[in-house]
Amino acid sequence: MIPTLGRTLILLALLAASGGALVGFATGARPTRAGWLWTRRLAYAFAGFMVLANLVMEYALLTHDFSVSYVAHVGSRSVPTWVSLVSLWSSLEGSILFWGLVMGAYVVVATWQNRDKHPEYMPYAVGVWLLCGAFFSFLLAGPAQPFATVASPPMDGPGPNALLQNHYLMVIHPPFLYSGYVGMTIPFGLACAALLVGRLGPDFIRPLRNFLLLPWIFLTVAIVLGGWWAYEVLGWGGYWAWDPVENASFLPWLTATAALHSALLVERKGVLKAWTVTLVIGTYLLTILGTFMTRSGVFNSVHSFTQSAIGPTILVFLAAALIFAVVLLTLRVDMLAPEGRLETGPSRDVLFLVQNLLFVLFTFTVLLGTVFPLVVEAARGVQMSVGRPYFDRMSVPIGVCLLFVMGVGPALPWGRATGQQLRSALLPPLVGAAALAILGLALGVRNAWTMLALFFGGFTAYVTISELLLPVRQRMRSHGEGFLEAFGQARRRGQRRFGAYIAHAGALIAIVAVAVSSTMGSSKEVQLRQGESTALGAYSVTFVDAERVSEPHRESTLARVDVSKNGRPVGSLYPRMNQYESQREPIGTPAVRTSLTEDLYLSIHNIDPHSRTVGLLVMVNPMVGWIWIATAIIALGGLVALMPPWRGARVTVTERAPVGAASPEGSS
């Protein structure tokens, strides 16, 4: 019963999406009230069917209904309830179903919010969204059916992948990732609508920017959550390995960030319209490429799916989307004429372009490195790797340059700057630069790139704080307000600007923290007998004993390790080795003691409770905690920047005619 219900819902979603797309495009070409109404209704219907299908699947998972094929793949009676709940997105078909859910939610919000605005754009936009929705419904109805009926349902299932049961972070990482990834469909539709209509006015750049910002916030958090998960769960002590799947999530983030910035120029000066639209479209295409990379089994990655019909199907959609984008851009890009002009010479305009160039370069480099093994296999017939050393080597200079631009850009004025203006803008922040650099030197930093990152970081920090407080200082001067009142007023009147600078602050902390943690850490691998200690940095760790813990889905061996810092005991850590039934090799869970300055990281390589020895990896990783804090700051900045437009502008215009002036035109 459930499989049939699920399949029906998906078919209905497919019908609603296909129909809605057709009606949407027809309404866009020939606008009618009825057409727009039906486009909206079909969009809501698509979303509704997707939500229901997901609820049905959750019901099946929670009741262990093994007649549903997806439940038979990943369900299990012996896992905790939260694991069953979370299994919805833990594996291939279920995650596509979840994709549909998130897309439905976004489509509803975006359609409803703009139901009586931008009438010449919206039908096209909804049409594009539903076209994408139709594709994913097709995937669910055909190659990636989660609701296929299992002829003879087994008594129990294998449960989701062991690695995914190891940590609570897996609960929130996929929802955040999908909210970011899938959310990029919305600005894609809006950008295509702008191209189809042949205009990108200042009123339309607003929703485009907002619906780019919202998924961007989710994606930023999701990427870092993925890194945090790798750090806390995988046990090798790092947080980013440039695996193809990690790169798949990072690539659209890079172009989306570039687009957010160039959208600012569109809004202010009416320039770079075509470029911004291209970036937004590129972001969406990268999400489709990313989903192909993750699911096709073509890339050598952590996500190793067996090859099925899903890969080629996504590839066909990707090809169609790429061709659609190229054709649309070729025919319509010249219609998006600029209304202003860019400043030559040293100015913020030029630095915006430099920053965009850096992001595009970063995107190209990561994409090239990820795809390159496939290129070489096709060209030379040789299997080779492009791994972490390559990506690290390439991304460090780009990251440092971005940090530099993030400092110099906001320091410069918008128009062409005079020499005097340049000096007064660029010299004071050098104080911050020098301060942070000297601090680094004092704390032992010797790596050249890290020093450069600290120097630019200090510069950027000074600029960011001073730009953040600039309107506050202006208000204090002109209105005589106190600091707090001026702060509140300035924030309320310039919320987007505030949010942007908060996000910049977070980004610079993140870059500096990454630089420091990559080069200033230390590690050692030791074999410790019971009672033996070893020291690393200020820490001394002692292996006290090993303990076995039995849980329904795994057998774990915990090692109790007592930690003391600078001679004082500070507690115990419990790294563990988990043996899951389905895996030969046990999977370790590291234990991390985080403090503001550094992390003490313990990971078990091997443990033998009988001989009472443990092979331990001990690492001291400085400033890693700051990466997570910085990400929260970036997200906060994004939220602050997002908030005002939702409330909309409320203006009362009094009809009192001023003395001696002609009556205003077009007053409603």
């Binding site: 042949g198 009123d203 490429l289 073509v298 080629p312 590839l315 070729t330 025919l331 319509r332 010249d334």
Partner: protein, 190 residues
């Protein structure tokens, strides 16, 4: 709100074909799609061995249970089959019988087993239970496995009389495959 005139007063320009965008778009899209399509169907996890067609790496390993070490040189003049296996490897059980039988059948071919990441007592017990018709060698630090480019077990190398690796087979073997690959190892090399 009816379709009120928006604040953009200028009429849209006519649609034109921008050759630069077309060129740039095709320059990105065509190679990308070509690379992805060409790689569909390839398994990125099965790595081809560079040792096929090259001399087998030298080794000198002690047999399970002690005794004089067996070296690669001692195999010169006869074709050889070197099978990497372990007691914890389920597919290795499956092929054990086939290999043992083949070793008896093809007595002009030297069969060797190299134990990969395992312990001697466990191996001895396994062999005592299952029997064996050819020597099993211990590779205590995995050096020989590394030299042969072993990714996992079971992996089997077919070597010709001159010491060249003719084939590398990944996965459990059956009698038919063993026979075919031995024929290749005997029947002349590139």
């Amino acid at each position: 709100m009816a379709t009120a005139p928006t604040s953009e007063a200028a009429p849209p320009r006519p649609s034109r074909l921008n050759p630069w965008v077309l060129g740039a778009g095709l320059a990105v899209v065509v190679p990308l799609l070509a690379v992805l399509v060409m790689n569909l169907g390839r398994d990125p996890h099965s790595i081809r061995s560079p040792l096929v067609g090259r001399p087998a790496p030298a080794f000198s390993l002690a047999p399970v249970g002690g005794g004089a070490p067996v070296s690669l040189d001692s195999l010169r003049g006869r074709p050889a089959v070197i099978n990497f296996w372990a007691t914890w490897c389920v597919p290795c059980f499956e092929e054990h019988a086939a290999l043992a039988a083949a070793a008896r059948t093809f007595d002009d071919v030297q069969f060797l087993g190299v134990v990969y990441e395992d312990e001697e007592p466990r191996t001895q017990e396994f062999l005592a239970q299952r029997g064996s018709s050819y020597p099993a060698l211990m590779d205590p630090e995995g050096r020989t496995a590394i030299a042969f480019g072993v990714f996992g077990v079971p992996e089997t190398f077919f070597i010709d009389a001159r010491g060249q690796i003719v084939d590398k087979y990944v996965g459990p073997l059956n009698r038919g495959t063993i026979a075919a690959l031995i024929a290749r190892a005997k029947g002349g090399s590139p």
